[in-house]
């Protein structure tokens, strides 16, 4: 919109700066308060551990003010109870897997979990593995499997992957996608075997189809590509 006279000068510049400054001040204050709370939790660890009511009220307060429970636990110093830390990871894992199941068919790499979904928490891949182990007693179908000898994946849906499907995921972890030709050439599979496996994975929601690759064959993409892309732009 064109403005005339005095209003042609950016009159709200000053206002918006003030607003920004205030917001920043609030943010800083909140952060400081959060830090103090965490400090408090570390100092009064013993009391918190022993007095259950105190502990639950304290945790509730932290939750209200926006502190991730994971930030309160220090696994090396046995803050609260060391298992509490892993229970929190378990809860988070279930939440995350439920949220992203429709996007990736329930298969997610530990690396992606740690780097993207546990980004702000100080959690290692080993911690995640331990939490998954604890979850196994619930019989919820959480399982870790490995491809290319070093990439670990978490499966949160009950259908087991066939070895062919695992091989396709291996190819995807290198290229971002797979295709009938790609599998045929690299794995020496018959075309019909490539096709069946890829179609199964589409049905299970593990791969996304792309038929616009310059008129060549259909590409089958691994949705973890999306977060990998986030990762490479932010780091």
């Amino acid at each position: 919109m064109k403005r005339f006279g005095v209003s042609a000068f950016d009159s709200n510049l000053y206002e918006s700066q003030t607003l920004q400054r205030q917001t920043k001040e609030y943010d800083d204050q909140l952060k400081l308060f959060q830090e103090k709370l965490i400090q408090f939790a570390i100092e009064h660890n013993e009391e918190l551990k022993q007095n259950i009511e105190f502990k639950s009220k304290f945790l509730k307060m932290c939750d209200t003010i926006g502190i991730d429970p994971l930030a309160l636990f220090d696994k090396d110093r046995h803050l609260f109870n060391v298992n509490d830390y892993y229970y929190e990871i378990c809860v988070k894992l279930i939440q995350i897997c439920r949220d992203i199941k429709d996007l990736n068919g329930g298969i997610v790499s530990l690396e992606e979990l740690q780097k993207i979904y546990f980004r702000d928490a100080n959690v290692t891949q080993a911690d995640i593995e331990k939490a998954v182990e604890m979850l196994s007693s619930l019989d919820g179908g959480f399982e870790i499997f490995q491809i290319r000898d070093h990439l670990k994946f978490l499966r949160s849906v009950p259908n087991e992957l066939t070895s062919d499907q695992t091989k396709v995921l291996e190819v995807c972890s290198v290229m971002g996608y797979a295709s009938i030709n790609l599998l045929h050439i690299n794995l020496n599979w018959e075309r019909v075997r490539c096709k069946t496996t890829l179609n199964e994975m589409i049905t299970n929601g593990l791969l996304w189809m792309d038929n616009q690759c310059g008129g060549r064959e259909i590409l089958y993409w691994d949705p973890s590509w999306i977060t990998k892309c986030v990762d490479s732009t932010t780091t």
Partner: protein
């Protein structure tokens, strides 16, 4: 503005055969459209999903050489229609939609808040002042087309908070909020 990472994911532009995934895919598209229109303050799109008036077409991504075909765009827009995220602009002959990154009720409440904070209760205020006046510059509804404003203000009329005034051509032009 930067679009979410999934916008560069090539299969996003092909209609997915798996219904659950497709649902998620349509969600992602709606999310992209709403986010973009909110940040760029775009109010209208045509029946092919092209943003007006600058004809920005998010469904075509030249960077990765992918585009969504018209049938699938229709499917996405149909979902938005049934979820009231777009509504017909029945003000003109052409087949266009208003895009609502907030629903009509929230817009109505926001405009009501503006009336209250700028002390405009009990006076006649034109639609032009609401959408283009200096006093609404920092408000999200600034630059909203006046026909959409009049649609939203009908809600305040229904809530019994306002009366609409018409000009000599029987067109809504101003409102008084009590």
């Amino acid at each position: 503005m930067s679009l979410p990472a999934i916008y560069s994911f090539p299969p996003l532009y092909t209609r997915q055969p798996n219904a659950i995934i497709r649902n998620k895919q349509i969600d992602s598209w709606i999310n992209i459209l709403l986010q973009y229109s909110k940040i760029e303050k775009i109010w209208e799109l045509d029946s092919n999903g092209i943003f007006l008036p600058n004809e920005i077409n998010l469904f075509e991504n030249n960077t990765i050489n992918r585009s969504v075909n018209n049938t699938f765009i229709k499917e996405i827009l149909d979902r938005m229609k049934s979820d009231h995220q777009i509504i017909y602009n029945n003000n003109n002959e052409t087949n266009t939609f208003f895009i609502l990154w907030k629903n009509l009720d929230s817009w109505a409440s926001l405009i009501l808040e503006w009336f209250e904070t700028t002390n405009k209760l009990n006076q006649v205020v034109t639609f032009y002042e609401i959408s283009s006046g200096d006093e609404s510059i920092n408000w999200e509804f600034h630059s909203m087309p006046s026909y959409l404003i009049s649609k939203i203000l009908q809600i305040l009329v229904k809530r019994g908070r306002a009366t609409i005034l018409k000009d000599e051509y029987n067109k809504d032009i101003a409102i008084k909020v009590v």
